[in-house]
Amino acid sequence: MRILIIQLFVNGLITASFYALAGVTWGVIYRTTHIFHFSHHLVFSVAGYAAILVTTEAHLPYFFSFFAAVAVAALLGCGIDAFLYRPLRRRGATQATTFLASLGLGTAGVALLLLAFTSSPRRLVGFPTKVLSIGEAFFSPADLTMTIISWAMIGSLLFFLAKSKWGKAIRAVGSNVEMARNVGLNIDRIYLLVFAIGSGLFGAAAFLFAAKNVAYPTMGIHPFFMSFTAVFLGGVSSIPGHALAGVILGFSESLGMLVLPGEYKTMIAFAILFVVIIIRPEGLIGMKRG
């Protein structure tokens, strides 16, 4: 029992890191643009395949997969903003309209991936698989990479948002678009930047996922579900809140297995969100929007 708890705790830490990263990627986009960017899951899947193809088709070492995933994801994210959301924005489309367009893109995109690669899972070739251990806890090199890279990326993002000139501009746009426009910020450019950052980081997450598990066309759905759940659970206005909520979701999923079968992991996340929103609509550490 003790060994089980230790192992579940370690698994929880790994999952928590991944969900925390997933949370901030969508969070930075949603907090800034208020676009319900549903095709985020497509970005994940495409990045996942980019990572795989670098090793299987281009025969490059898996090290390059990481950069390919990030670059492809960032490009795709920017493309979606520039060619789908921006025209809709110009026309004054409602949030619901933008959401539906995004939903359509995600649906069509995943089906295209299915057409191109079929539903059979693909492996990231060459990633080390030797099992590691600390004391009684076991984990794979992919688990270790996932944990370290996730937190490195979350840390860099938070630092960038807090300290850099662009980071401040992003926060300003997220808090009050009108005021930001009035002080001369180019909103379209900032949206593009945010989509590049959010998508690029989600692409990194896709690489980590593909290294740990496998890639398949719908691989983005579950991470995306966790990312927006983390955003609303933590509170839309607070990006550290999204990471915190991701941690809570990761640990509760893992430790929940002590009492519930694994099939119920979505249920645990949803139950937590449901209860928190009833008690605290603004999220765990979010502020009320006026």
Binding site: F36, L84, P87, L88, A93, T94, Q95, A96, T97, T98, F99, L100, A101, L103, G104, L105, G106, T107, A108, G109, V110, A111, L112, L114, L115, F225, F228, T229, F232, P261, E263, Y264, T266, M267, A269, F270, L273, F274, I277, I278, P281, E282, R289, G290
Partner: protein, 576 residues
């Protein structure tokens, strides 16, 4: 032939399913990502009740309807209370969790394999057990469900739904509990989807989780969008095209899996391209709109608005004890983060007078309005209307206390007719209650005629009777402001808060509105608090004004006296 009837029955079932989502998505503008599950609730409830308990299919259908309605309300209340997009989050989660439940709770749902051998429905000894025999049942179900939706959307209730979709805040300011409307519609939409689900279960006599996956939820959304959101016949068109299409695709070469993938691509592209190029769908909502107006001819001559409007009002004001202060505010404060937007503001408005609220841009005037009307919670301070405290009351409740506000940016409901804009503001409409709508239709109709008569009175007052049937968005800015005034008057409130009623207008229109406001205050015996930038307007209308700067009330008195004060003039005009 059975093949054709089979398709027809499916089109009818899907039409009901799509209509139920259209009610939610089209008419109120909120999105459900879990609409397949509501059908699933109907299907499983019906199947379990009929298979295990052997009950009649009508029992199963009604039980499914009720359960789905309750579940719908439980999802909608906590999420819509916050913001519309929380419902997307909740319904995606609900869809995934409920789907997992269908698959894993084998003890109840029999898992992936589904529930077979559901008895075919029977009525008076007639068994609906072939596609041909089932067709009448499907048709009747469809007609009933469509009739219910028709009644809902073409009624005072539906008028409020449209107003919510157009501008929810403006709708709340007119006294509508928008949350209640949204929750009711979502719950009812879920219930109707459950009817589609149970009908499907009884038709196929077998159900399994696959029919209620997230792909199906998206499929239903695609049908709504294709047919046209908020278009009554759109769901039938959407369902006919998209249920028929796979039957055509069936003749394409390739494996079934390949065709399925093609279909997904196609659905996604429809959704995306419809949103980009034709968001209104195949049958747009106003394809045949600008309805002929009844009631205009029998408008009585004496329907001079000021008197017509006042029938009920005068009595109620006397009843309320006639406190000399129509509106009193003491020590109102509000800060946003570090910024003190309003600080210790106190105002008193004498009954029947127009009082001005002036000051430089950004001094907190509109924030004061938002605090009074409950759109923002005050940090401190109290608000009284006719001596009754209303501090912190929800915006929609203030109509009952006789207080209503206008908006700087007009916020007319642009895609509704001018007449509907005024009608929606009428208080205490029994046609806004679902039960009354269906069980006392004559009373609703009588009241509606009465309201139309009143509405024309108000339109006459502002001189817009000839534009009654036009879409409000097609009016000029000046006309929109007049329509907004008529809408405000239609609430019958005694205290009006006007936020820059003459901003951005030409001189002639300004004159017209000044005259109108004077008339409203005098003949209509209204108390008015007026935010205004144009000092000529202020001088022309107001005997007493409050001067605000940086969130504080600096002075009050006669407007010319205030303006003569060099210190205030400096603050106002920013002269050194």
């Amino acid at each position: 032939m059975d093949y054709i009837f089979n398709i027809l029955v499916f089109i009818l079932i899907y039409a009901v399913w799509v209509q139920s989502l259209n009610l939610i998505m089209g008419y109120v503008g909120v999105i459900s990502m879990g609409h397949a599950i509501f059908s699933g609730i109907g299907a499983y409830t019906a199947a379990l009740i009929s298979v295990h308990l052997g009950y009649h299919f009508l029992v199963g259908t009604v039980a499914g309807f009720l359960l789905a309605t309750v579940v719908g309300a439980l999802l909608a209340i906590p999420s819509l209370r916050v913001r519309n997009e929380y419902l997307i989050v909740f319904t995606v989660g609900f869809q995934m969790v409920a789907y997992e439940f269908m698959i894993t709770a084998r003890g109840i749902t029999e898992g992936q394999g589904g529930i077979p051998n559901i008895p075919s429905p029977q009525l008076f000894g007639f068994a609906f057990n072939t596609p041909f025999k089932f067709l009448p049942l499907a048709l009747v179900t469809t007609v009933i469900c469509f009739a219910i939706v028709w009644r809902l959307v073409n009624s005072p209730f539906g008028r409020v739904l449209k107003a919510i979709r157009e501008d929810e805040s403006a709708c709340r300011a007119l006294g509508k509990n928008t949350l209640k409307f949204k929750v009711l519609v979502f719950a009812l939409g879920g219930g109707i989807a459950a009817i589609a689900g149970s009908t499907m279960a009884y038709f196929i006599t077998f159900i399994s989780p696959v029919s209620f996956s997230i792909e199906i939820s998206i499929f239903i959304i695609v049908m709504v969008v294709l047919g046209g959101e908020a278009s009554f016949w759109g769901p039938l068109v959407g369902a006919a095209i998209l249920v028929g299409l796979p039957e055509v695709l069936r003749f394409l070469p390739g494996t079934a899996g390949f065709v399925d993938v093609l279909r997904e691509i196609f659905y996604g592209l429809i959704l995306m391209f419809m949103m980009i190029f034709r968001p209104q769908g195949i049958l747009p909502e106003y394809a045949a709109k600008t309805k002929p107006l009844k009631g205009f001819q029998d408008l009585p001559d004496e329907a001079d608005a000021f008197s017509a409007a006042e029938e009920r009002n005068t009595a109620s004001a006397e009843e309320k004890g006639g406190s000399p202060q129509a509106l009193e505010i003491t020590g109102l404060s509000k800060s946003f983060g570090g910024l003190q937007a309003v600080k210790d503001a106190s105002l008193r408005l004498a009954s029947g007078k127009i009082t001005g609220l002036i000051g430089p841009n950004g001094c907190g005037k509109t924030t004061v309005f938002n605090l009074i009307t409950g759109f923002l919670p005050a940090d401190d301070g109290k608000v009284y209307v006719h001596g009754k405290e209303i501090t912190g009351k929800a915006p929609y409740k203030l109509i009952d206390d006789g207080l209503v506000r206008s908006w700087q940016d007009i916020r007319i409901f642009k895609d509704m007719t001018v007449l509907d804009n005024v009608l929606v503001a009428r208080p205490r409409q029994s046609g806004e209650e679902i039960l009354r709508l269906f069980f006392s239709p004559w009373r609703v109709a009588r009241q509606e005629r009465e309201n139309v008569r009143h509405a024309f009175g108000y339109l006459k007052m502002v001189g817009l009777t000839d534009k009654a049937g036009h879409l409000a968005g097609s009016l000029s800015t000046a006309e929109q402001k007049l329509a907004a005034l008529a809408r405000l008057m239609a609430t019958e409130c005694r205290v009006l808060l006007l936020d820059e009623p003459t901003a951005a207008l030409d001189l002639e229109s300004v004159e017209r509105i000044i005259k109108l406001i004077k008339g409203i205050a005098k003949q209509g015996r209204k108390t008015i608090l007026l935010i205004e930038h144009n000092l000529d307007v202020v001088r022309g209308l107001v005997e007493e004004a409050y001067f605000m700067s940086e969130g504080k009330v600096l002075a009050h008195g006669e407007p010319s006296a205030l303006m003569a004060d060099p210190k205030l003039a400096e603050v106002y005009f920013g002269i050194d």
